[in-house]
Each structure stands twice: as C-alpha cells, then as structure tokens.
Amino acid sequence: MKKILLFILFFLFNVSKAYCLIEVDITRGNLNPLPIAVSPLFSDSDTKQELKNENNISKLGEKISEVVENNLRRTGLFNPLEKNAFLQNPDVAHLKPRFEDWKLIKAQALITGQVKFVDEKLRVEFRLWDVLAAKELMAIAFTTVPENWRRVGHIISDKIYERLTGEKGYFDTRIIYVAEQGPKTQRIKKLAIMDQDSVNTKYLTLGNELVLTPRFNPTNQMVTYLSYFKNLPRVYLLDIETGIQEVVGDFPGMTFAPRFSPDGKKIIMSFAKDGNSDIYTMNLENRIVNRITNHPSIDTSPSYSPDGKFITFNSDRSGFQQIYVMKSDGSNVKRISFGKGLYGTPVWSPRGDLIAFTKLHKGKFYIGVMRTDGSGERLLTENYYQEAPSWSPNGRVLIFYRETKSNSEGKGFSAKLWSIDLTGYNERQVPTETDGSDPSWSSLLSN
C-alpha cells in the first residue's frame, strides 16, 4: 500500500510541483481514489459501418472503454468520472485534450483512444494523459481480431494501472472456481471459469461427479483439481484449451489439496492413507513422486513460496490446525501461527513476503495475512464462514469464498465469491452465474 501511495505521489509531484494533487488519508492506510476520465474510444464512420456489417458489433469503442472503466473502478484506487460531465468530444480529446476542460471536472488523469477497422483486424490505440501537468504519459496501439475486444480492454487497463501505480495489473486474467447448485445435502458442483470481471463464464465439467479446489498453473492454462470421478477422490490435471484430463500419479487412496509449484512443473498435494494425510509432490515431466512430510498428523493445504524454496502448509500436529513453513525438501519444519484459534489454508503471496490464511476463532472465520515468519498478523475480514484465499497475480487482491448460515431446513444458505484488497479495504462480491466456491486466480494471460 505504501509503495503504491509513494508511486502515485511521486509521479504526480514530479509532473506538477505547484499543487498537492492527491489527498491521502494516511491514518487509515487508505487513499482517496484518483479521479480519472475515461473518454470513450471513438471510431470514424467507415469503421462503425464495417464493424456493424461484418461483425455485428456496434459501439465497440464505448464497450472497450466501459471494460476499462469498470476494471479501474473495482480496484478501489480509481474513481472514473461521470461521462455526462465531459466537455470535449472523444475524437478531439484524443488528438489534443483541452486540459482546462478536464481540470474543471476534477479529472487528474484522462484516457482517450480510437478504434479502427483495418484489413478485417481491429486496431485499437489509446493514450493516457496527466491533466494537471498537461502532458501525455503513454500511448499504445494493438491490432487484433474483433472478437478479442474485451481482452483489449483488459490489456489497456493493465497498462494504465501499471503506469499509475507502479505495480503490474491483474485485469487480463481469469478465475477458475466451483459452480454450485442444489440443496446442501445434494450439492451439484462443476468447474467453471470466467474472466476476472465475471464475464464469459464457461463450465468445464457437467456436474456428474463432485469436483473441488481447482488451481491454475502459474505458467500456463493448465488446472489441477480434485474429482470424485468413479467415486475415487483423486487429483486431476486438466488442460482447459483441449479439455484433456488425467489422474495425477497412481496413489492407492485419496489425493487432494493440489497446487502447482511456481515453475509449473510439479504438483504438490496431500495423500491420505490409513487415516493419515501427508504431503507429496509429483514431477509432471518425469512422474517422480516425492514424499515431503512424514508425520502421523493431518498435513495438508500445501503452497510453495514464489522462489520454490519453501512450502507452507497446515497441520494438526500440535493438537490443533496450525500453519507451518518448511524447506521444499520437507526439512526444517517450523510452526508460524501462534495466535488464538485455528489456522488453515496458507497461501504464499506472489510477492513472497506474506502468507494469506483462514482463521477460526470463537465461531467466526477470518481471512488474514501474516509475514512468512508468522509475525505481523493482520485480519482483513470477519464473517460467519469464509475460507480459501487466492492471490491476484500481482499480490494485491485476495479472492475467497463465503457461505451464509442456513436455518434448520437448510434455507438461507449461499456460497459466493468475494475479493478484498490487501489493506483490508474494498471488499466486494465477485458476481457469478450460480453460487460459487474455491476460487483460483490465473496469471496474466499476456505478459
């Protein structure tokens, strides 16, 4: 958070020394969202006609800028301004904004752009302007097929976010999760995938068998998850491009809690045998299986550090579920959670400095973060039931799921995806077509 503040402050001070441009409420560790004007991307009349004729897409420029605007708004760091207040037309603004007009409506940054149709391809260009310094900060153009227009919106959002915050964006990403339907006692669960902005939902399984805990490979579009196919709970590997799936390893019992190593070459998971769960890895290239823990307690929910040198997991070896860290070969096991209550589902931040977790204390569930030595515990959100945080690829946002209490007839129950900023602010529900749980955030699709 501090880093982001500094970056924004630095960038704005740098360009215009005369004003204090942003009011920052440091005491709350929060900042007032940056007022930004997203002028709709404009098209000339030829392009408009061609888009309509050949692709049946009208108002494409407006739609792309809407994607950008919604992405920026959801971060909680930006405040996209009401378009009705804009004084300058999009085409003129794109060539040379009249900065006084944009200052007048309190915009500090301005996005303009143009969509052209060239040789059946879409050419999208956009510019980012600093209104107070009256200068251009960035100008980028892409060429792509028209069906890709939403992704263009996400990529533009990522570029703007990165330029203004100094951190990588997380908009050109997808969420895989478990879509849920039906009564609690006979819940039907399917793997589902959608864009990070809840659009383009696709179902990857039919719901014939129970599926749980899908996780993305951080290096490609492979997914690992738990399936009860033929009533044998096993870890599977699924290629979401081809739909091909296979069982991971040949274990004589339940395998579960899978996750990829940061290089994407191994799967780390639990294997339960004779009432005991331990942690194993399988190398996906040579299929070699390694046992990582060997303890009569439950060891599960493993997650690698981003450098692959350490593993965090939860174990009840102390008598209760707590979080541990060990070297990736299983040596040097250290308990790191010592607060009151139970701790589970540790997930290492992609930045490497924090571990997100679920905590149960006095009948309440919390999502929190702590440093990798267990110090600096910070609880971000409290609720009746919530668990299983997953990091955005830039380590800025956590997505998790939350369940509501049901009455004795089971009424009132729901499972929904939620996200929250690392600071504990900007908590919001992530819309899904059905109920949802077990979300996992992909890496950036384009890098």
Partner: protein
C-alpha cells in the same frame, strides 16, 4: 455512591441468574440428543440389519470412537462375520465449520478409526474400503450445533 454500588451488584446478580437459567434450559434441551458435542440421537441413523446401526458420531475435530460408537461397531462386526460375502464402504464426514481440505483429511481419519475397530473384531481389511466426503455431503443442512453433530460421522454402507 454506596447505594449505587449495591444497585449495581443486585443488577449483576439478577443478570447472572438470568443468564445461568437460560444456559440451563439450553443444555437440558440438547441433552437428549448430544453428549458433549457428540450426537447420541437416532434421527438420521439407518440400520444395516435389525439392531445394527449404520453410523457412528464424533466430537468436533476428533476421530476418537466413543463408548457408544464402539458398541455400534461391534454390532456391525458381528453382522459382517455372519454375512461373510458382504463388503462395505466406510464413508467419513465432517461438519461445515472447517476448511474444506482439512475436513477431507478429517473424514478420512474418522472412517479409518471405524475401519480399524472393525478389523480388531476380525473383519478383514479386504472387505472394507474407505472414502472421505469431508463436509461435502451433510445429512442435516442446518447451521446449528445439533445439525453439525449429526454430520460428524462415519457411515457403513453395503458395497455389494
């Protein structure tokens, strides 16, 4: 000042007695179906044969068999000895108040506790398989201690 203190004390005593009496009624009500937080009722229980209950119940986060559970499992072992062609699946379950992955492991541990007990009463491990559903298949969909106690279970199911 003093009268104020007395008033406060009287008020506290009054409040406390109210709280205690509330507690007492609560316990009495649940007592019939729970001991500690282990379910002792028969609402959800089905029978493998006459007098042979199909399931045992556990305390929160525990996989220790209670006296009642051991009694049930001895009956199951007796029935299995008499019907030597029958094989069973032990389905281990947890309540909804735990993280999904830990609960999968816990369900497996509970089903294995039951399996081990059946084995000590002479049932071959070849005839028993184990599966954990974690918190995925509750029998009672309520969100209250009694519902949770019914869901913390290992159920013996005929497999053939």
């Amino acid at each position: 000042m003093i009268s104020n203190k007395i008033f406060k004390n009287v008020f506290l005593v009054f409040l406390l007695s109210f709280v205690l009496s509330a507690c007492a009624t609560q316990t009495r009500k649940v007592d019939t179906q729970m001991q500690g937080d282990v379910y002792t009722g028969t609402d959800t229980v089905e029978y493998l044969a006459s007098g042979v209950p199909d399931r045992v119940f556990f305390a929160t986060n525990e996989s220790v068999l209670t006296t009642a559970s051991r009694d049930t499992l001895r009956k199951q072992a007796g029935w299995l000895r008499k019907n030597s062609d029958i094989t069973v699946v032990l389905e281990g379950h947890a309540d909804e108040r735990g993280t999904r992955e830990y609960n999968l492991a816990l369900g497996e541990r509970r089903a294995n506790a039951a399996k081990d007990y059946l084995m000590t009463y002479g049932i071959s491990s070849d005839r028993i398989s184990v599966i954990s559903y974690g918190k995925e298949r509750p029998v009672d969909s309520g969100s209250n201690p009694l519902a949770w106690s019914k869901n913390r279970r290992s159920v013996t199911v005929k497999a053939n």
